[in-house]
């Protein structure tokens, strides 16, 4: 099983929906960074990232989202996290990211965050 598994689809309203599974750490963060860059290159700046099956995140992984949200907001977009697992949410809380990002419990709710 790969360390990080990413799945992407497009939702109506110009929203990219990304599901992340596994570990987002110093080894895998570039995969997430590359995926978000490719979404931005398509002029899509509204992102929903489902983190329910993400078992682990370190600062290298969190840094990807910190680096991306500025560019998303500059282009009238945003990044919404869907159902982060408790240990991932704890890292977000510690790093103060919970005050910067929006969180949602369902995909329908996430769509309304933009």
């Amino acid at each position: 099983m790969p360390d990080l598994k990413l799945h992407q689809e497009r939702l109506p309203g110009g929203i990219a929906y990304i599901e992340a599974e596994g570990f987002l750490d110093a080894h895998t963060f570039e995969e997430m960074e590359n995926l978000i860059s490719s979404v931005f290159r398509q002029n899509v700046y509204k992102l929903i990232v489902k983190l329910e099956k993400l078992d682990y995140i370190s600062s290298a992984g969190a840094g990807v989202f910190v680096g991306a949200i500025g560019r998303a907001k500059e282009n009238r977009g945003d990044i919404v996290f869907l159902k982060p697992s408790p240990n991932v949410k704890e890292v977000f809380d510690l790093l103060g990211l919970s005050a910067i990002f929006q969180f949602a419990d369902t995909r329908d709710e996430a769509v309304t965050c933009f």
């Binding site: 110093a26 600062s59 290298a60 910190v66 704890e90 790093l95």
Partner: protein, 144 residues
């Protein structure tokens, strides 16, 4: 520290081995009696220290880093030795979180996490071992 109980792991300086380091540290922390959320914190703190040693190394630095776990009855101690040239650990760790989150420079967040999640963190440099980071978590009384 009782060296008879010490676990020593020498790993290539490649991030693909981070998950192995995490597994060894987490397993040792469970055996030492830490609750699951404390195990997560120890695992993350060590990951951050090892990640920094792997990501910010110069090509000329030794190709292996050493992680030692000392599971003492009262103190669970992890020592990281990277064999590299001095790293401004204290300076990098002096971050203002809000500014750091808006800064493109990375590395400081990891040290911030280490300091938040461990009870004691000590840094020293020696010509033999390079940067040595000693991270300590007190073992809960109920587990002793």
């Amino acid at each position: 520290m009782d060296d008879a109980e010490k676990i020593t792991l020498a790993v290539p300086r490649r991030t693909q081995h981070l998950s192995l380091v995490r597994k060894v540290v987490a397993t040792s922390a469970v055996e030492a009696g830490f609750a699951p959320d404390e195990v997560d914190k120890i695992e993350l703190a060590v990951d951050e220290a090892v990640s920094n040693a792997m990501l910010y190394a110069e090509p000329t630095e030794p190709r292996q880093i050493v992680v030692q776990v000392h599971p003492g009855p009262e103190r669970f101690v992890i020592v990281l030795k990277d064999g590299g040239p001095p790293f401004p650990f204290e300076e990098k760790g002096q971050i203002v979180l809000e500014q750091q989150l808006r800064s493109p420079e990375r590395g400081g967040l990891g040290i911030y996490i280490i300091r938040q999640f461990m009870d004691e963190v000590a840094y020293e440099y020696s010509a033999r071992d390079g940067n040595v980071i000693t991270m300590t978590k007190r073992v809960p009384a109920a587990a002793r």
